[in-house]
Amino acid sequence: MSNSSTAAPEAMQWDSKARRMVVLWLPLACFVIILLFPFYWMSITAFKPDAELYDFATHNPFWITSPTLAHIRKLLFETDYPSWLMTTMMVAIGSTFLSLLASTLAAYAIQRLRFRGSQYVGLGIYLAYLVPPSILFIPLATIVVQLGLFDSPLALILVYPTFLVPFCTWLLIGYFKSIPYELEECALIDGASRLQILWQITLPLAVPGLISAGIFSFTLSWNEFIYALAFIQSSDNKTVPVAILTELVTGDVYQWGALMAGSLLGSLPVAIFYSFFVDYYVSSLTGAVKE
């Protein structure tokens, strides 16, 4: 099968170029094309004038002959798109900050303070990750209403950590584990307090872990949908994914150009953010799975 050259490719003379083409490059190209095509289609639709968009007979749909910014202009100046972006950004940053704070402290307590029952607290936090939002949104909606936070982005900032904290805590426990305990012992002997150790020794060494956890939290809160759909009602306070689906989809005639432009602009911030930190992201994804 296709894992033929996982070991030593030079050992396999029969692994000719043609064979490699068929079993490796061809399927890989198919995967990449299929995985990327929706984004290509999204981008190209966003810049296509309506005349080309709905006329496949005279225009090749895979290309644009006269690109236009009309859809993006409409989105930015005729809808509340900028305010949706701001809300989403605010919610994502707020909940990322909150969950990083909570999970750093929790991970430090579980991994380094070693109190009795710490592994059960760790397990409990891990199990919390297995509770999907789809089960929680109805009771949470009633709680949010009771707290007077309905229709407020603050509700989202407070609720998103429920799925961010378990993941981040788990990730940071792994990172703290990799930092030698001797360093902390040295600091203890030198008379540092526990909080000083956390702040001046453990945290600086765990920066890669914090970055991974931060990126992960940011993208997850940017992508969150069901809570934002259930808790937010007024147009101004909506996040981008919810707003595109509920505000831009109007009537029976869909404005595909504007919809795709909105999706493209809503995806770009996470994509750009992600591209700077790909390696951290991949290591957090795989590290957390390996844990």
Binding site: S2, T142, P166, G191, S267
Partner: protein, 318 residues
């Protein structure tokens, strides 16, 4: 007298303030460190979970406190064909999408595990469907599934000439169901592939060398080395994947909203439709609670069925 004899001693190490000493107490510190995380999780996760189960036994609606009604919600749901159709589609959707995601994801991971140029760039590109907000890529799929201007129809009809008419992706029951599953598989492949790739990279090459010396065929190497070594990580990834596919909401809500004629409702979308726009919080909560047994079963099944080998080998959990 001591202080006079060694005056600098008392200054080199100033006594920490009462507050600092208070926080250096281990018990206090443990409580203080755990409080934010445990507090957030108990208020917004554990409590709602319990409240959700309670709501399932009440007739609460939006704006009116509920009365305890016993099993009435469940009795009603069990006679509701839409509920059963949602149960069926949730199971079907999860089963087919999981098989699809894992076979294609494993294939992609095996491809990526070979010696390739631009490997890290490829890996970054492949993760894109996972990074981009699901709803936004779902809207792109919705546009690709458009009855009139679908690019897929165009390819099959005008480029390849395999069909006479446009494909009606979302207009009738089964095509809509399969279209959603395809979109879910598309979104799930990257996560599976990248996680399994990490698992593949931990397999020692010496095992393959030994197998090569013993004359093992590529299939045998996959069957007797790669696959068993991958099982522990496969078990974890599959558990997560099953849970989050079964409770999926975004894709279905964005593309079909449960239509046509309620045929593509998952339990989560049905719970939302009844609970939030419909206002029947009690009934919606009952539908959500009905997911829990499936989730517990799926978790136990995938974990015990797949992770068993790891115990037999007696490997540690770390």
């Amino acid at each position: 007298m001591d202080a006079v004899a060694t005056p600098h001693w008392s200054r080199t190490r100033p006594q920490p303030s009462a507050l600092a000493r208070f926080f250096d107490n281990k018990a206090v510190l443990v409580v203080a460190c755990l409080l934010p995380a445990v507090g957030l999780l108990s208020v917004f996760l554990t409590y709602p979970l319990g409240l959700g189960i309670w709501l399932a036994f009440t007739d609460q609606t939006i704006g009116r406190a509920g009365q305890y009604v016993g099993l009435e919600n469940f009795e009603f749901l069990f006679t509701d064909p839409i509920f059963w159709s949602a149960v069926f589609y949730s199971v079907f959707y999860t089963a087919v999408a999981t098989v699809g995601k894992f076979s294609l994801g494993l294939w992609l991971a095996l491809l990526l595990n070979q010696h390739l140029p631009f490997k890290s760039m490829l890996r970054a590109i492949i993760l894109l469907p996972w990074i981009v907000p699901t709803v936004l890529s779902a809207i792109a799929f919705w546009w690709m599934y458009d009855p009139q201007f679908s690019i897929i129809s165009y390819v099959f009809k005008d480029v390849l000439g395999w069909r006479e008419t446009n494909i009606n992706f979302l207009g009738s029951e089964w095509p809509a169901r399969w279209s959603l599953i395809a979109a879910n598989i598309w979104r799930g492949i990257p996560f599976v592939a990248i996680s399994l790739l990490a698992g593949l990279q931990t397999i020692s090459p010496s095992l393959y060398e030994a197998a090569l010396l013993d004359g093992a065929s590529p299939w045998q190497r996959f069957r007797y080395i790669t696959f068993p070594m991958l099982l522990p990580i496969l078990a974890i990834v599959m558990t997560f994947s099953i849970i989050f596919t079964f409770t999926d909401f975004q894709l279905v809500y964005a593309i079909t909203r449960g239509g046509p004629v309620n045929s593509t409702h998952l339990l989560a979308t049905l719970a939302f439709q009844r609970g939030i726009p419909g206002g029947q919080l009690g009934e919606g909560a009952a539908i959500a609670v009905a997911m829990i047994p499936f989730l517990v079963f799926a978790t136990l099944f995938s974990y015990f069925a797949l992770a068993r080998r790891k115990w037999q080998q007696g490997e540690g959990n770390d």
